[in-house]
Amino acid sequence: MFDWYPLYNSIRIALFATVIVFFTGIFCACYVVRLPRWLKGLLDVVLTLPLVLPPTVVGYFLLLLLGNRRPLGLFLARCGVKFVMNWPGGVLAAAVVAFPLMYRTARGAFESFDETLAWSGRTLGLSDLYIFWRIQMPACRQGILAGTVLAFARALGEYGATSMLIGYTPGRTATISTTVYQLWRTNDEAGAFRWVLLNLLISAAVLTAVNLLERRERRGRA
């Protein structure tokens, strides 16, 4: 019987991570765009860091923060939340690594948004909330969609930080990428190849879906 657990776990982790990153990325992008220049530069460095750091380093920092003997880790354990060696830890690791992709693409989209549209909406009496959801978000839809897909793809393929934080336990924390490594390491080449093939299929499907969406969008506007 083929063990499908890594596929289920990977998709579950990637979906949860994408949802988290979607809202936090948009929120941070919105917030940073309005800041004064120097603060913007500083925050930009901090928020983009996980993109350039080796994922194992990110994992190291997460362990440093949430480890079983750290104050925050102890506190969370007492509340019944366990990240280390547990699948929610994979969500956290994937979210941190994928966050900069969402944040940066969303910020680019917000920066190219024509502020005059927002101001004209205000002079017409529209509320700021309405302007954000009905005018700014649709205008930035392309960038936000692209950011979401990139973040999902990155979360799905996350290896380094995930393996540091949740390791590899078959049927508990195994994901596609950790399974590929584990099977290869134990000389199960055929098994590793099957997962590689599956991974390729998923990635191709995601990219095709994005292309189709973009084409429909273009036709709808013309």
């Binding site: 005059t116 549209l117 205000r122 017409l124 009496g125």
Partner: protein, 347 residues
């Protein structure tokens, strides 16, 4: 009905100091680009907040920095037609207009139908802004502004995004809409023809302040200062000295000219509009002797830069219809200027 505006905004190399009151009709802010016209509008509609200022519309205080009052744009009831029209690209014409009317308006459907009809947008109601021509976009943006029933309408260079050949017709259409609006409007432009056509009063602006405000005919007839004269399109502005109660000496042209109006105290320049000269062959009163020059051809007029005895150039324009039969006007021996047409300017 009235609008009272007082704004002060200081920057390292620019400062805005506006102070004017508008009772009714259309006020034109005329001035070169970068003189603070658009910033004035942005302060009035609440897009920008000036360092200091006070704006009162129909007795309502929109802004009073001394009392820390600054209404958000949503509560000002000031319509702002942006230079780019700022139509929402993801919405149809109809949805754009509904944003102006307001989603909670009790008679929104009737109002929408009336607006679509008034601005000839009914056949375009389902289109998006990108599918409209420049003129249609302008109509849509204006309809959207008026749908919000503003108490004051601000128009920022409404024709700058349009091709020249469309402007004349659209200017006449806008004139009609402004007349129907019956509430005060402020129009920003750098085009004096546009200002003259659409406005009742004109404020000539330069470097952040109003040089002159008055009825448009009066502003063009008596610009008062050399800068205002140039901004209203006067091509000849030359230094002059008082030479009697009705006489001025123009050293640059080497002549003494008689004026119809009494020469004001502190006269520094005179102005003559390029179209106001008449060519004559013999000397006489108010005739300026010429010693050659260059004539260039435009589609409908001749444009001449002529040398005078005083050394300063003189700019003369003559319509081709005035010179029928002549292929190219000769440089006349003299140009005559009637005393009524002389603009007397003080710095």
């Amino acid at each position: 009905m009235s609008v009272q505006v007082e704004l002060h905004n200081h920057f390292p190399n620019f400062s805005l100091d506006m102070d004017f009151t508008l009772e009714r009709g259309v006020l034109g802010l005329l001035g070169p680009s970068g003189c603070g016209k658009s910033m004035t509008l942005r302060c009035i509609s609440g897009v920008e907040r000036p360092g200091m200022g006070k704006i009162i519309l129909e007795g309502r205080v929109l802004l009073d920095t001394r009392k820390h009052i600054c209404l958000p744009p949503q509560r000002r009831r000031v319509g702002h037609l942006f230079q780019s029209y700022a139509l929402f690209p993801n919405m149809t014409v109809e949805q754009n207009l509904l944003c102006g009317i307001g989603r909670k308006h009790p008679q929104r459907e009737q109002k929408l139908a009336a607006l679509l009809d008034q601005f000839q947008l009914t056949p375009l109601r389902q289109l998006r802004p990108a599918q409209l021509s420049g003129g249609q976009q302008q109509r849509c943006a204006l309809a959207r502004c008026l749908g919000a029933e503003p108490e004051l309408l601000l128009l920022d260079e409404p024709f700058s995004a349009l091709d020249a050949h469309l402007r004349t017709l659209l200017q006449l259409q806008l004139q009609e809409h402004l007349t129907q609006f019956r509430r005060p409007s402020i129009l920003v432009t750098h085009d004096r023809d546009e200002a003259y056509l659409l406005c009742d009063q004109i404020a000539v602006m330069d470097r952040g302040r109003v040089l002159l405000l008055g009825e448009k005919e009066e502003v063009f007839r008596h610009p008062g200062s050399p800068t205002a004269a140039r901004l209203t399109g006067c091509k000849n502005v030359v230094p002059a000295l008082s030479a009697g109660p009705h006489s001025v000496f123009v050293p640059g042209w080497g002549v003494t000219l008689t004026t119809a109006e009494p020469v004001p105290e502190g006269l520094s320049h005179i102005g003559v509009r390029a179209h106001d000269f008449l060519p004559v062959s013999a000397p006489g009163e108010n005739c300026i002797p010429l010693s050659g020059g260059r004539v260039t051809e435009y589609p409908f007029e001749w444009n001449a830069l002529l040398d005078t005895h005083g050394g300063a150039l003189l700019h003369w324009k003559v319509s081709k219809t005035h010179l029928e039969g002549q292929t190219r006007p000769q440089v006349p021996a003299f140009l005559h200027i009637s005393p009524e047409k002389l603009l007397l300017l003080t710095e």
